[in-house]
């Protein structure tokens, strides 16, 4: 799974979001190390939709009227499972890397 796909799935992990909220989430979570732009984001969403990893959903009730017009996306079961597997894979990878002495000085 490409890092960008993973980031988008991660962004949708806790609640459904619209595109802009996904961009913000990724930006904040990575402290602007990863800054997605609309082209890449929707190209990614298109692929994730096609792979049935995310799906469109109704706006959450607390959304204000401006946000209501937007399309919301949420993880599918498949998407959540895949993201979890990916996380485990990466965690294992990190553990192995640490053992080989790649640990950063924290």
């Amino acid at each position: 799974m490409s890092p960008i796909h993973y980031h988008v799935l991660l962004a949708l992990g806790d609640e459904p979001k619209h595109g802009y909220a996904i961009l913000r989430e990724i930006d904040e979570r990575t402290e602007s190390m990863v800054r997605l732009l609309p082209g890449t984001l929707y190209s990614t969403i298109k692929k994730l939709l096609a792979q049935k990893l995310v799906e469109e959903c109704a706006p959450p009730r607390q959304a204000d009227s401006l946000d209501e017009r937007r399309r919301y996306y949420r993880l599918t079961e498949l998407g959540r499972r895949l993201a979890t597997e990916e996380t485990d894979r990466m965690a294992a990878l990190v553990r192995r890397a640490r053992r080989k002495g790649f640990a950063g000085s924290r």
């Binding site: 802009y20 609309p38 082209g39 890449t40 190209s43 298109k46 937007r70």
Partner: protein, 881 residues
Amino acid sequence: MSPSLRLYRWLMRLCPESFRARFADEMLEDLAQIIETTRRERGLWAAKLLYIRALFDLLRTAWSEHPVPKTATPSPGTRTDAMTRHFRDAIRQLAAKPGYTVLVILTLATGIGATSAIFETVYAVLLRPPAFSDPEELVIVQETDLVRGSTGDDASPANFADWRAASKSFRGLAAMAMTTVNLTGQGEPEQLQALRVSATFLPVLGIQPERGRVFAPEEDRPDGERVVLLTHGFWQRRFGGRDSVLGETLSLDGNPYRVVGVLPASLRFPNRELDLFTPFAMNADEAQQRSSHYLTVVGRLAPGVSIVNAQEEMTAIAAALERQYPDTNEDNGVAITSLHEHLVTGLEQSLFLLFGAVSALLLLAVVNVANLLLARGSARLREIALRSALGASRSRILVQLMTEALVLSAIGGAAGVLLGHGCVSLMGTLVPLHLERGITGFHPATYVFALVLTAVVAAGIGLMPSLSLTRRGFTSMLRASASSTRATGSMNRIRRALVVCQVALALVLVGLGTVTVRSFVQLSRTDPGFRAENLLTMRVQLSGTRYAEHAARVEFYRELEERISRLPGVSSTGAVSMLPLTGGGGSVGFDIESPLEPPETDPIAVFRGVTASYFRTMGIPLVAGRGFDSRDGPEAPKVVIINRSLSQRFFAGESAIGHHLNIWGERVEIVGMVSDVQQFSFAEEPRPAIYVAAPQRSWGYFDPKEVAIRTRSNPEALIGSIRAEVWAVDPEQPVAAIRTMDTIVVSSLSEDRLRTLLLTSFASAALLLAALGVYGVVSYVVSSSTVEIGVRMALGASGRTVVGWVLSQGLRPVLMGVTIGVALTIALARVLGGYVAIAAPGQPWVLVISSGVLSFVALAAVLIPAIRATRVDPLRSLRAD
């Protein structure tokens, strides 16, 4: 939607239809929002950067969203398939070499952008007809002096009335005159730019008000109701575009005027800074004046009447008036010019010069790109040879190369239009105020121009390399590409010829640039005749019944000067009818009592009414005699001060002090002489000037209205307290045009500065392009001759010999280019000689400097590959073969 978002939306068309239909709205909305957030959180530049990244992101997305054909050799399909394939191949080829592609696109964008921006200016100023209905029928009718040969004087009211009564050539004649009025009774008093017009003015121009109505004929009579039309800008600025202003009454110069309408925003004639229009409503005295000339007369020709017909009729009318009123109309003729021609007189030269220069630059850019393509083309010989060996027809390869050129110039053209669009507002400086339009963006005609230009550029950069590459037999190509030695003789010849062109063109541009810079430096070093630093100026024009008496005006300025001079930080204050370098100001004819010898021409001098402390305040040195002082009151004998030019012209260097002049029937004595001041511009020779002491009598238009204040430190800090002093003398008195003298000096040079800036940037760009061209060719010669160099060095040639050989290879086309360039420049100077003031690049010193600069730069460009050539390892180069 902002233009940047619109561009983004437009570029989305590159994405497949299905993708767009699904995501376009969301993408746009998100983009707008992240840009806004970024702007708020990290500032404007971060937001701009982000936008540019988003554009690239979009292009990348568009590229990746298009399905890539599965097979490398697509099945032969329709013609459109083939075209798409060509385009996709071309884009792949270009994307594979991003550095080269960006260089080419930037070169083309600069050329196309600059040319389009200048074209827009030329088009807006010279080619586009004025924005009136049937503009070709509109003419300007002016008085002329048949003896002095002057053309284009304003008309007097009585002559205008007679013209209107007697002529049949016009559907309508209208008059206008600029004036200023003071608006009071509504917040801060304000001085307004007003146009007095005859009731026929708007109908003749064919203008409908945006709100309300035009003037009725009875309102143009002295007993008619006082009415006013607001310009759109003034209506917006002062009344916030409120409709209820119609019918309201404004107090102008103390008189009530009823607002009857608002003019359309599109009306910018006769200038862009007017606030309101009022009818003339001349009283009998004014209407009968035949000797004061201040009306600009506009006419609309009757159907079927040409300017020549109208001219014949008006000449006859003028002759009849001359017989009838010999005192005032002796030698008076009439001249009719089309309105358009009248507006653009004097602008063609400098604009066409710029257009010529920028076209030369574009040509240079095209040559450079053609050269680059050619260089790359020869690097691709093997590929082309292979393709043709595999059965690709010559035309197919030609189309492929042309497609690449087309893609390059299309992107370059699009980028150029964006670039030009960004720069075009800069050109507004070149459009004088009296033209009824500013430049805000590109007119559709400019887009068409840019499009045509792009097509021509594509043909230019594509055809030459394509033909020269495919003309060669394919076998020889294969052979040539197999061994990289002496690959391509004919191609080299073409490239050298291109370098010769580049150097020649660059020399012409560098010559032009040199002359412009020199004349600009000279201009800005010219002594204005006064000290501009720490000098604040403002217009305090008195009007209305309160100041109808001359004594009241004198008293106002006396008290104002006294109050301002008492302010801390102010060292002196003076007033004048018109400050230097602010345009206009008026002249007067005079007679010399018992002259040493009768003057050859009727003496005319710049005329200024001043208060006693004006010269001291401005720092204009007194050269002889005395200045004005408290002696020179209304009862005392009338005195004047002249400038040095007048003394030299009419008194042949003898002392003029004590001589008498006659001005407007008044006998005046010359009591002093001051040094010359650049009254109108830095470029012109100082003219004779006469200064009169304002307190002695009223000189009408020449009474002081501009105040100059000399301060000890930053004058702008005093603006508030000075304005307060004006309002302490009269709370209803507007203060206008507050600026420092430094600002006036800088803005009087702004047009020259912009022209210099443009021409020097063209020259520098040309120099750079020429250097790149030379460098490219020589590098190529060196790299394709490594074997030859290797052999020479193996046979004992020293590094110096090798450098010499490369230099001779590289500098030969340069010298040829310089020679042709010098000849071109001289020819150009001949053609333009005396026509354009700055077109003196044919002078020897210019030729020497520009060929020197060019040769130096070219030498540097040749030396780099020459030195690289000495590092050739003979063994390795021989082995490589």
